[in-house]
Symmetry: C2
Subunit: 382 residues, 2 copies
C-alpha cells in the first residue's frame, strides 16, 4: 500500500488551487533582487558569496552562481552537502565547528569542492589540519574576528596571529583571509545608526588586516556583511566579499527597518494559507501557525487576501501550532463566515527559519505556478 | 556521485559521540510517561487518543496504541498519512479544514482507516459529505464546540444542532460526538486556576451534550483535553476521550507551571548540542539556535553539561539561526575556553514545534543510543 500525501501543486496550477500551507516565491520580485545584488557588488568590485542558510536550495544557489556569485556560504557542514552534490564548486562554512563528526564532514566535502571554513580556537585548527592531511585534502581557513557581534571570533590581533601561525603549521590548511561578520548591525532600524555600526565593524576589520600586514601576512579575503548593511560593506574598501542571504526574499523584520541608501529589495517570499474556520464576529482562523511560520522575529505584519480587491483588513494576531488567529478590525461585530475558504498571503517575520520548515518552494508568476524548487538543505543543521 | 550527510548516529553509539544537534528521547522517562497515562485513563474509564502532532512519529503512535490508546489525533490531514500507512487504524483529525485539496485527502484516508474529523460550518459538512458519498467511504464527524478557547468551534447549541442535522442529511457522514478542546486552559500556571478553567470547559461541554439529548440525539463521544488538564478532564464525568500529546516529553513551558494534582510527568525530550566557540570571558556558543529549538514558548530553561559533575552553571540567553548563546554567571570573568567541545542537554521550551524541526529521534538509555525512530510526519502541515 503506497499511502502518502499528494503533491502540493503541479506546474500550471494557480494560487487559487494549490494546497495550503505552501511557501511561495514571487519570481519577478526574486529575479529583480538577484539581478540588483549582482549590479551592486559588481559596481564596488567585491565578490558576492550569498548565504545559502537563507534559502537552503541548490536550485537557488545555481541561479546565484549563474548570475555571478563566486560560490555560497553555509552555516553548517551538513548544510553544504546538497550544494556540493549539485555542483556548486566553492563553499565557505561561515561558522566554527568542533568534534570528530564535524571534522569528518569537512574532509569529505573538501574532496569534492573548494572548501573554506572559520576557526577561532587552536584546537579547531589542529583537529582539522591533522584530519585533512591524513585524507590528502586541502582546506582554506579564515579565522573569524569579532567586529561587534560578540558571539564567535577572536577579540585581539594577538589571538589572530596565533591562529594564523597555527594554520601555517598545518600543511593541509591554507590561510586565505578573515571573516568579520556583524550580525547585530544588520537589523538596526535607524539607517544612520546602522551606517555608523557598519562603519565601526569595517574599521575593526581593517585593524585586524593591518595587524597581519605589519607581520608581512597578506589577507586576500575579508568576508562578512549581510543584507541590512550590504551596500555599506561593499563600499567600505575593507570587505572583499559579502555574504547577504535575505535580500532574495526580504521578511517582516527587514521590511520594518529603514533603508536610507540607494538600494531597495522586494518582498518575494510568502506563505499561502486558507481560512478554515470563522465562527466568531470579527475573527477568522487560518491554517498556518508555528509549524509554517517562524515567529522569533514577530508575527506576519500584513495579511493580503488572494484575488480580492477591497475585503476586510485582517491582522494576524496569534500563532498556535497549526492555527493562525486573524482579526478583522472593521468587522469586529460582523459575521466573519464570508471569509471561510478565502486564501491569504503572509510575509514571514523571519525568512530563514520559516524556509527551514518547508520542503519546497512553489515559484509563481501572474498567479500561476511555473516551477517547483526543492529545499534540499531543509533541516540540515549539523 | 553520492554525496549526502552521514547519519547522525548508529545504534550502540554513546551521547558523547553522536552528531549534534540531535533530538534525544530518554527512554526510561518516556516509557514511564506512556505507562502512567495508560493508568490514569484506565482508572477513570476514558479513552486515550493521544495527539500525534506532538511527536509526529508512527513508531511512537504504535507504542501508544500497543499500550492501550484507541488511536491517535492529527491536526492536519497530510499529517495523518504516515500513521495510516503504518497501520494505525483509527485517526481523528482534531481540526477544521476547507478546500478541494483537503477534502480529497480526507476521502483517501477514509478508504484506509476509520477517520473522524471536526467541523464548525455547514460548508465543510456539505463538501465532505458529497465527496465521501461519491467515493463510497464513511467518515465520522464531530462538530467542534467552543468551551473557552475562542478559536474554532460553534458557540451555541442552536449552531450545533444545525450542524448535526446537516451531518444527518449526508449518507456518507455519521455524527459520533463533539470535540470540546480548551487549549488555553492547558498552560495556566496556577493549579487552582487551571482546575477552575478546566471545570468551566467541562461544564460547557456538558451543556452542549444536554442540548443534544433534549432533542433525542445521543452524543457518544466528548473528546478534548490536553496534558495540562488531563487528570481533571478524565475525572470530569463529561469527557469520554482525552487527547494529550506533550505528556510524552514535557517541555520548558509545561515544566514551569504548577502541578497540584496526583500525577507528575518526566522530561524525556532533549536537544544535544556541542559548544563550538568560547572566546569571551563567561560566554560560550553552542551549535543549536532557532533551527534546532522552537523559541515561541521561551528559550531552554536549563542547560546540563553531559558527563560533568559540577562544572559552571550555564544559562541559554539568546538564539540566533544556528547559534545558541550561553552565559556562565559564576565565570563571568573567567576564560571560557575550557568549555570548547563540551556537550550540553537542552530541554526545549515547546516540544511540538521543536520536534517538527528534526527527521529522527535518537532513543537512549544509560547514555547509549539503543534505537532510532523516524519523525515521519515532520513538516506535514497540510
Amino acid at each position: 500500500m503506497l499511502l502518502a500525501p499528494p503533491p502540493a501543486a503541479q506546474v500550471g496550477d494557480t494560487l487559487a488551487t494549490v494546497a495550503t500551507p505552501s511557501l511561495l516565491i514571487d519570481l519577478a520580485a526574486f529575479e529583480a533582487n538577484v539581478a540588483q545584488m549582482g549590479t551592486l557588488t559588481a559596481r564596488h568590485g567585491v565578490a558576492l558569496r550569498p548565504h545559502a542558510k537563507a534559502h537552503k536550495s541548490s536550485a537557488i544557489a545555481r541561479r546565484q552562481v549563474d548570475a555571478g556569485a563566486v560560490g555560497v556560504c553555509c552555516q553548517k557542514l551538513s548544510e553544504a552537502y546538497p550544494f556540493a552534490a549539485a555542483g556548486i564548486e566553492s563553499i565557505h562554512i561561515s561558522n566554527e565547528f568542533v568534534g570528530a563528526d564535524k571534522v569528518r564532514m569537512a574532509v569529505e566535502l573538501a574532496a569534492h569542492v573548494r572548501l573554506s571554513v572559520c576557526v577561532d580556537a587552536m584546537a579547531q585548527v589542529v583537529a582539522l589540519g591533522e584530519a585533512a592531511e591524513r585524507a590528502g585534502v586541502q582546506i582554506d581557513v579564515l579565522p573569524e574576528v569579532d567586529v561587534g557581534q560578540h558571539r564567535c571570533g577572536v577579540m585581539t590581533g594577538d589571538a589572530l596571529l596565533l591562529l594564523v601561525d597555527a594554520i601555517a603549521a598545518q600543511p593541509a590548511l591554507r590561510f586565505t583571509g578573515i571573516q568579520a561578520y556583524h550580525g547585530g548591525a544588520q537589523h538596526i532600524a535607524d539607517w544612520s545608526a546602522r551606517t555608523t555600526e557598519a562603519g565601526r565593524a569595517a574599521e575593526q576589520a581593517a585593524h585586524f588586516v593591518c595587524t597581519l600586514q605589519a607581520r608581512g601576512i597578506q589577507c586576500a579575503i575579508v568576508t562578512g556583511g549581510g543584507t541590512g548593511t550590504v551596500e555599506l560593506d561593499a563600499a567600505s574598501g575593507v570587505y572583499t566579499e559579502v555574504q547577504p542571504g535575505s535580500y532574495l526574499f526580504m521578511d517582516g523584520d527587514y521590511g520594518a527597518i529603514a533603508w536610507g541608501g540607494e538600494w531597495r529589495w522586494r518582498h518575494s517570499l510568502f506563505v499561502l494559507s486558507t481560512i478554515m474556520s470563522a465562527t466568531r464576529p470579527g475573527v477568522a482562523v487560518c491554517d498556518v501557525g508555528l509549524k509554517g511560520l517562524a515567529v522569533d522575529s514577530g508575527l506576519p505584519r500584513s495579511v493580503r487576501l488572494l484575488n480580492a480587491s477591497g475585503g476586510p483588513e485582517l491582522t494576524y494576531i496569534a500563532a498556535n501550532d497549526e492555527h493562525g488567529m486573524l482579526e478583522s478590525k472593521a468587522a469586529r461585530h460582523d459575521d466573519a463566515s464570508a471569509l471561510l475558504g478565502k486564501r491569504i498571503l503572509l510575509p514571514p517575520g523571519h525568512c530563514d527559519p520559516t524556509v527551514n520548515l518547508y520542503d519546497e518552494y512553489l515559484i509563481y508568476r501572474d498567479q500561476e505556478v511555473i516551477e517547483i524548487w526543492p529545499i534540499d538543505a531543509r533541516g540540515l543543521s549539523r
